[in-house]
Symmetry: C2
Subunit: 101 residues, 2 copies
Amino acid sequence: MSSTELDEMIKALSHPVRRDILNWLKQPELYFSDQEHPLSFGVCAGLIDQKTGLSQSTVSAHLATLQRAGFISRKKVGQWNFFARNEEVITQFLSRLNEQL
Amino acid sequence: MSSTELDEMIKALSHPVRRDILNWLKQPELYFSDQEHPLSFGVCAGLIDQKTGLSQSTVSAHLATLQRAGFISRKKVGQWNFFARNEEVITQFLSRLNEQL
DNA sequence: ATTATATATTGCTATATCGCGATTTAACGA
DNA sequence: TCGTTAAATCGCGATATAGCAATATATAAT
C-alpha cells in the first residue's frame, strides 16, 4: 500500500457517514435484514441510501469514495449494485496504521 | 473517547503533513538531533516548521489541530513551545479504530 | 417500444480546509 | 525601555468537500 493510497484511505474514513456505512456492512443481517436479495451478494445501494437519510446522489458519491479507497467492493447483479466490505484491505490498512502511526 | 472526538482525531490524521509530524516526533533524536534544548522537553515548533518546509503560520495551525485532537501535548518553556506525542492517546485511538472499523 | 426502477453522473451552491503574509502576543536580553 | 526571537492569531484567496436536484444510463418488465 503506497503512501498515496494510505492517504486516500484515511481521507475516505474522515467522514462519519462513510464510517457508518462501513460499520453497517459489518453486520448486514443486523442492519439490512429487509433486503429482498440474498445478503451474500452484499447490500444494495438503495438500502444504504435509506439508512443514511441523505440523497441518493450523495450516498452514491460516498460509496464511490469508499470503493476508490479499496474498503468496499461492488457487485452488479441485474439493475442492482451490491456493496460489501473488503475485509483483507481493512485489515491491511489497520496494521499499516498500527505500524506507521 | 466520544464519537465526536474520534471524528476530530481521524480528521487530524487526514493530512499527510500532520502524519509526518507525528512520525518525526516518534524518534526526535533521529529527526531533531540539532535541537539546542533537551529533547526530553519535546521538539520545539521552529524545528518542525523547518522540517516541513511550510510557513510558520501554517505549521502552527497543523500543530494546533494535532493538539486539539489530543495526539500531541505542548510544553511551554521560556519563549519556546515544545511538542511531544501523547502515546496513551495514540494507543487508545488505534485500539478504538481496530474495534470499530 | 414504452415505462419503471436502480444508480451513476452532472451542475450547482455552501462550507471547510489549506497555505500564505502580516500582525499580535509573549518572553528574553541589552 | 527597546529590540529580538518564538510562535499564535488574523485576514485573505485558492482549492476541496459535501449536499442537493436534475439528468443520464442501464436493466427489467409490460
